[in-house]
Subunit: 388 residues, 2 copies
């Protein structure tokens, strides 16, 4: 990382960062996945911010959500127009203070931002995997992250933190590697994907698979299933906002017009916003990765995967201190789902703090400026780093 | 209507009914639409149940929602496998008692169940309209219904009732033709379509328009945009249910399997349900009609269309007695939206009853068995029919 430091509107930035790569499971070794398939080699794209201390005790793993990547904070170049996806919370003096902590963020398995996924070359064929890529789970993503953490020489993480699908990875870390996580901070997430959340994902997947350009997932040598992926992203965007947020942000305001068009062009600002989000997403994201990551989220179910039908039993394995945060207007993973996991943690006498933050911006709240969230994370990390 | 009476699981049925047609606005007369276009001829498909009394004072107009039709109750043939869409509430001795009331239900303008819509033949070309069909509004639908009510010789309706988009028509009737409606019963509806509701409709429309078989709406001589319409319907179905309803109905139960498939086949029952609903819908509904009707709903806004920016001013025109019903788990048109209209009604000293029914089945609650809803409708109609 360079020493270049820039002041931006979010305060002091971490400056320039660079994406790095770690490859493991070279054939014939391979990584055995939860679904039974083998995958190798596996490359993990990751970025780090801050300095690992001599005791190697200040490392925080940040886990990203569906469409995120390893670029958690800072800029790639001096003229980079925007910083990493969680720059609001990660940086010098910020909630996750990079003057004190060593932050690691890696792109998840199955994604398309540098880590091995369906768009990667299948060594068996010399062509992109497409649907020959095996279905991966949140557990597989976390097992790959563990290999990276091993590689970085970190025996025990000070904390694992993330929202949404990132929060699922946090829970998975706490249950799968209890001795390697001192603190776990799952935000805006759930212990098992609900029927409603599965339903939204399934509609989004069907939109992609309905696009003739998807061609069974083998589209890498031709047109991308852009229309299907755009619709899928639009479905997602609705779930990230809330009724209140949409009312405040768009209401019934018209786009560039004084009256209705009386045709099927854009009339309302909310339509324009969704179309824009859909189109923009297609430029940067792989449709097959969308299928794989949503499937992993749908499969996520701590109760059955770690507790043989009991959430309480699942958390019996955990050792970490927990900070669980939900948001009032998040209807994708509503507060009751966080409360359920907090109850199970408490029944195991775990050290758990829980906060439901009043926010009208829906599921996406953890990505937006929120002083309460920043303070909760900062204070919790402060406390954990002083307790041994 | 035949005298054939059948007892079914919902109690006594209205027996056999038949679809009829009324055509008006033959060119060069034509119907002038709110958007400025002219349409003609206009055919309205409708059905009636019960007998119009000598005073012509017992007529109730039932307005259907997005995918409904004129077939509100009873059967078309003795071996018809299922009755009309609101047979639970319309029939002898039921909430809308056809021994007492004369029920009229017509297919809305822009639909595809017998009333003129985008799949109808454009007399100017001799081919289906496709996107040459003009965009219609809820106001246009109601103006066409008024022509039917005129044709049936009914000067004043005892009541207009309907849920969702049907409820919008109810409100439109009460404001547009105050002297022709004694009672208005809007169920699970809104006074203006919210940004969230518009967003869902827009995603559904984009799914249809993204299907290459849609071909700008000119698909009637070839393959239908079946995949796009199926995705659109799936989006709709999510909004009709609630988080609770989905949990209760599906949870995370697997379809025909003891474990995950680890591919993109159906894993969960909720996925199977959505795919089935999507596929089934394609058989009976026209994709262009879906576009037109959702657009009409998006344009619906009593405040601006009838009140020059004030909902209170909009209801100043109304004369009807109102029964407004919302459902606790309806997140498409949440209770606060019904409360808003009730407040505006009360500020105009209108006779209004309001009830929020506790129901965990989401927006679709008005279509499902609900004793409370049945009792409210029955008692309200009883009261209104005795007041002169």
């Amino acid at each position: 990382m360079s020493e270049y430091i820039e002041h931006d509107k979010n305060g002091v930035s971490v400056g320039l960062v660079e994406k790095r790569y770690f490859t493991f499971a070279e054939p014939p070794e391979c990584m055995e996945l939860e679904g039974g398939a083998k995958l190798g080699p596996v490359t993990i794209a990751y970025e780090t911010v801050g300095e690992l201390n001599a005791e190697r005790s200040n490392a925080i793993l940040v886990c990203h959500a569906l469409s995120g990547d390893s670029h958690v904070a800072g800029y790639y170049t001096p003229d980079d127009p925007k910083p990493g996806w969680w720059d609001l919370y990660v940086g010098p003096g910020k909630a996750i203070d990079t003057n004190r902590y060593f932050v690691v963020c890696s792109n998840i398995l199955g994604s398309c931002m540098g880590t091995t996924g369906p768009a990667s070359i299948n060594p068996a064929t010399g062509r992109p995997y497409g649907l020959d890529f095996p279905v991966v789970t949140i557990g597989d993503m976390v097992r790959a992250q563990r290999r990276l953490i091993d590689h970085l020489g970190i025996d025990r993480l000070l904390a694992v933190i993330g929202g949404s699908i990132g929060g699922m990875q946090v829970l998975e870390w706490a249950l799968r590697y209890p001795d390697r996580v001192r603190a776990a901070i799952p935000l805006a997430t759930t212990k098992r994907h609900s029927a409603l959340a599965i339903a939204f994902n399934e509609v989004a997947r069907q939109a992609i698979m309905a696009d003739p350009d998807w061609r069974g997932g083998n589209y890498y040598d031709g047109a991308k299933p852009a229309r299907g992926l755009a619709v899928a992203r639009m479905v997602g965007h609705i779930t990230y906002l809330s009724d209140e947020a949409m009312r405040r942000k768009f209401g019934r305001r018209l786009q560039d017009k004084s009256d209705f068009s009386f045709n099927f062009d854009v009339d309302f600002q909310v339509e324009s916003y969704l179309r824009y989000q859909g189109t923009k997403f297609v430029e940067r994201f792989d449709a097959n990765s969308f299928l794989y990551i949503t499937k992993a989220a749908d499969y996520f179910d701590i109760k059955n995967q770690h507790g043989r039908g009991s959430t309480v039993r699942a958390f019996a394995k955990a050792r970490a201190r927990f900070l669980v945060v939900s948001f009032t207007s998040d209807w994708l993973y509503p507060t009751y789902q966080s409360r359920d996991m907090v109850k199970a943690m408490k029944k195991n006498n775990l050290d758990v703090s829980f906060c439901e933050i009043k926010a009208d911006c829906g599921h996406d709240a953890f990505l937006l400026p929120n002083e309460r969230l920043a303070a909760l994370i900062r204070d919790f990390l402060e406390r954990v780093s002083h307790e041994r």
